[in-house]
Symmetry: none
Subunit: 249 residues, 2 copies
DNA sequence: GAATTTCCCGCACAAAAACGCAGAAACCGG
DNA sequence: CCGGTTTCTGCGTTTTTGTGCGGGAAATTC
């Protein structure tokens, strides 16, 4: 079989099944693995396939896309994500809600981290999927199209079965008196369940949202363990929360 | 034999078999390899054949296999999606697997359709989420990063609770004897569960995957109700499947 | 962290191509 | 018919290309 023929065959097969194993190819075509590998390499250089350890993938199926532009006060969220990262260590089970702050956290996870992340938010899950080492558990249920999160009794039941080390909540509003509040009933239910199922509850919130109130109550300050904002811990705005027994970072 | 004769013979042979080896040609015509090589070179310069190491290939060969345009056989998948759409009506519960063919189906759903779609494939779910009217149920569990689908016992258990009207399976390989086969163990488990939980099982497959086999078996032909390809229903390739009791569209 | 698989690199060897050359055949205008 | 020219072909030699193999590095898996 000629080299070009072989490559055409490989390409054909990759496109057909979205992936090939070099081991199976070499028995199929009856050539050495080296040859297959060289073929794959050439095809990869031409951009026809994506070479991976053990074989190759089709180019078409592999780009799940997400837009990160236009996120409000992204820099603040990045610093929040940094601080949150300090709480995470290998082997942890971590529940997270949705929201752009959590997205930023997902993006900034160190690549060598090995932990398990659980969420029902599609955009956040997409971020987690980019990470090389973490395990990702997706909470299933009906999808709410505007919040892009799974909602419903199944999702809540599933969360309640969990026993996570940390729960990171993207927070829409936090207030010394009214505690954590939000504006979507379903999301509130989920957050309540998450709080119940976690040993430690951490709220991520940009300073702007501190001391603001939304219509639906999630929980009081007594139920959260830590509040992370982009401000230094000794900022006077945060003082009331420290007094209320919440750790601040 | 005259040079022109020889070249005509070569050209004829290339067009007939899509390929030709210079070694075999030189014994056939009884001339030295150099002569053959010079002939091939001339033909190549005239654009009549494509010269490669060891022989030559026909132009059509190159066109057929190296279709370098973006997504592979997308048009075929579009027509498959059209046919599948004909089976869907308002109010249905529809289970779908993952794969690019299903993605195409998701994209081509008519905007006014009101039905419920269930899947564990992240890319497919993303497509469903674009739709204005359908309900989307996400099967949760651990995410497999390479297949971008939720896998595991939870997912399977959840699928088994369903009772869907139709199950659309993106098919990696279908064969009259070996039935439906695939190359990922986890995915096979999910597909099996989906088949069990649906009143009607429909396989979507481009014609190229028909009569191909993959390592792991999903089910036999007796378990599927319909096969949709881009070919007309009376294409001879599909005849064996009709004989096996599978509807074809 | 150890075992296995896969990858990468250099090498050897064979097949094929390129090149130069020379002989043979064809062509051609005296 | 005959030199001279062109074209075609085959033959040796040198280069290039394609392939397989072994060993060590790297990645993956358990």
């Amino acid at each position: 079989m000629l080299k070009k023929e072989r490559q055409a065959y490989i390409l054909h097969k990759v496109n057909l099944h979205n992936r090939v194993l070099s081991s199976s190819l070499c028995t199929e075509i009856n050539v050495s693995e080296d040859t297959i590998r060289r073929d794959l390499q050439e095809l990869a250089e031409e951009g026809k396939v994506i070479k991976v350890h053990g074989g190759a993938l089709s180019h078409s199926f592999n780009h799940v896309y997400f837009s990160s532009d236009g996120v409000y006060s992204q820099n603040h969220k990045k610093t929040i994500a940094q601080k949150a990262n300090a709480l995470i260590s290998n082997g942890m089970f971590i529940l997270t809600s949705g929201g752009t702050t959590i997205m930023e956290l997902a993006r900034s996870l160190p690549p060598q981290l090995k932990a398990t992340f659980i969420s029902g938010s599609i955009p956040v899950i997409l971020e987690y999927m980019q990470h090389p080492n973490i395990e990702v558990i997706l909470i299933g249920d009906k999808i709410s199209k505007n919040s892009k999160i799974t909602i419903g009794s199944e999702a809540i039941a599933k969360i309640k079965q969990m026993n996570a080390d940390i729960c990171f909540l993207g927070t829409n509003a936090i207030h010394t008196e009214h505690g954590i509040t939000d504006n979507d009933w379903e999301v509130v239910q989920l957050k309540k369940a998450m709080i119940e199922s976690s040993k430690m509850v951490v709220c991520l919130s940009i300073a702007e949202k501190v001391n603001s109130v939304q219509p639906i109550r999630v929980c009081g300050l007594d139920e959260i363990d830590m509040l992370i904002t982009e401000l230094p811990a000794d900022d006077p705005i945060l003082k009331p929360y420290i007094d209320a027994g919440v750790q601040v970072a």
